[in-house]
Amino acid sequence: MVEEKKKFINRLKSMYALRANIDKMYARTVEASKAGNPTAWCAVNWWEADPILKAMGVEVVYPENYGAVCASAGVAQDYLERSAAEGFPTYLCGYARNCIGYAARMKELGEIPPEAPLGGMARPVLLLNSSALCDARYKWFQSLGRYLDAPVWTVELPHPGVKESQADGAHEQNIRFMVGELKEFIAFLERLLGKKMDWARLDELASAFIEVNRIWYEINELRKARPCPMHSRDFWTCMTASLYPSGDPKESLKLYRDLLAEVKERVANKIGAVAPEKYRLLFAELPPWHDLKIFDEMAERGWSFVVESWAYHPPKPIDLSHVSDPLERVARHTYRWFTGYFANALQEDEYMGYFAYPYLEWARDYQCDGAMLHPLLSCRTATNHLVLVQDRLLSKLKVPSLVAEGDIVDFKTFDHPGTMRKAEAFEEIMDHYRGLRRGEGLPW
């Protein structure tokens, strides 16, 4: 490990507590499993299924998160090789291959592998997929059947096209579909676990999750300030508590409120995450977990990352207080996350309403000088739209992009010195376009 030098990103104090909360989820699951309580491996599902599992008393771990954990603990490479040896193509998702390697090893040993970081992921009674965003997650969990005898369930999340989503009745039909889906899921869970849903608890949890997201959204809105009070690195650390909602949601609520207070204070006092803030950037999509220190080097040059990763962002808030059915509340909330940018996208004829379009809106609202795009060799979902994003940002907003290929888990593909070399030249590009934007009367 390279020794970390002086830190150029001014990190938020209240972030550390949020980070600690996530790591505990592994230990909790292992304990639950030992005690004979139900545990699940769950794909990130954007709050659709999380409150349901929690209300049914299932302890959950998220193998995607575990992919990042294994990558930073340095054990991922072995799991990736194991997955290849099991016959899985090497172009598949890095998280998936890490998880497959892990599961194969667990099956071979009959227990959690001793090298597994954070105590490992306990053997699940349920594998829960989501059809949201990528093919990898539902196919990956299905293929885990070679190593685990847990049944697999897929929760549907509709993916309407931008134009189709605005048709008469489409919105309500999609909500109906999601609610119907969740009901089928609950019926399945009740059969599997042999117990009934605690609806009052579900109601409470659904509201708590939605509230966490609302605060989290508010925090991110404050990052439009100059200088930006919170860096993407803090975002990636803090988002996990919203994305992998673990532990007591009341605790999460408190932690996010603390975070909000700290960010507000920074804005009031004009304290930036990077000083001086010479360039404001957006980042798409998944970061190089194994090389986050590169953002410090960029901060040293005055680069502040002010917004990032659409898929990790909370939905634009909507008022759900009148919706009494918790399933419907969850469905509307999740659907909002997915389609919240669609109406504006349609007005601009941007048919990639999720993933691509939000960056256009953000580049304007957060006044970004440039974008750093991180195509992944093993993830279609986080990469598909990047060429489009680059094109739209430049042609519509005169915001240029720096492209650096890499991977989330497999660090061998990321060229750190090469990226820094390009970064230097990229500053000139950002200067050039700043001049052009001002020439055209754009406000930044």
């Binding site: 090789e81 290849a84 040896a85 099991e86 090497t90």
Partner: protein, 270 residues
């Protein structure tokens, strides 16, 4: 390199010729064949069956049949090491990994089109260091801390090792680093198959003691190397030819032979 092996009905080696003539003479397989016939003391028409293998297999005008180098290698390796499950073959043009079960090819991976994972990598870097390939092993043996070469490309690696040397990294550590770099690449490729013992290492590069050590270190398995690692492919081809002939005879079927012309190979188009 062009290799010719002749075996008799018992599978015993009757001739073995390796022509170290380089790319320009690949097409002169007929000369190598003539040499082998001389060694075995046989006229050509006494050879019951000729199997051609390798990249140039389609271009050998005097072969009765073409069989892929994968099947031949598996056969050749298994004839020497019956318990083999995994084989690594590194030549000058490519590297391949074989999974073998009960002496038969089960699965394989190949790397080509890039010199970085092949014998050429060693040759080129040896040249950069001003050393001969067979001097490398002795130098590497003195290394206490092998250099980690970060670039993949052979050309980039040349620059890299030169600048490391100029920064004062000892020569032996650089050489050990060269071995390690290619061993890591090829072993990683092999791991895609799932490595199981016994593991056999063949091809020209397996004659290089330093490389054998580096492969062993990276694999964490013991590695067997045949006495004559260059000819396993040709050996396998000969043995497969023998089997075909014996099988046909046992069934009383005629042996299907092509019309043979002991002449130069035709144009290599791919």
């Amino acid at each position: 390199m062009t290799k010719v092996v002749i075996v008799d009905g018992e599978g015993l080696l009757r001739a073995r010729v390796v022509s170290n003539t380089g790319a320009e003479h690949r097409r002169l397989a007929n000369r190598v064949m003539e040499e082998a016939l001389q060694q075995a003391g046989l006229p050509f028409d006494q050879v019951s069956y000729v199997v051609a293998t390798g990249y140039g297999r389609i271009n050998v005008p005097f072969a009765d049949r073409q069989i892929t180098e994968l099947t031949c290698h598996a056969k050749g390796v298994a004839s020497l090491f019956p318990a083999v499950r995994t084989a690594l073959d590194i030549g000058g043009q490519d590297a391949k990994g074989l999974k073998i079960k009960n002496g038969v090819l089960e699965d394989f991976v190949m790397n080509d089109k890039c010199a970085a994972g092949t014998g050429r990598f060693i040759e080129v870097l040896a040249g950069t260091l001003g050393l001969k390939v067979d001097e490398l092993a002795a130098v590497a043996a003195k290394s206490t801390q092998k250099l980690r070469i970060t670039t993949t490309c052979t050309v980039f690696a040349q620059i890299e090792i030169v600048s490391r040397l100029s920064e004062g990294v000892p020569l032996e550590d650089v050489v050990a680093g060269v071995y390690d770099a290619i061993a890591r690449r090829t072993v990683n490729m092999l791991k895609q198959l799932g490595v199981e013992p016994d593991v056999v290492f063949t091809g020209g590069v397996a004659r290089n003691a330093g490389m054998v050590k580096a492969v062993r270190d990276n694999l964490c398995y013991d590695v067997f190397v045949p006495e004559d690692p260059l000819i396993t492919g040709a050996m396998g081809a000969a043995l497969l030819g023998k089997e075909l002939v014996l099988k046909a005879r046992a069934k009383g079927q005629p042996i299907l032979r092509k019309e043979r012309r002991l002449e130069e190979a035709t144009f290599f188009s791919s």
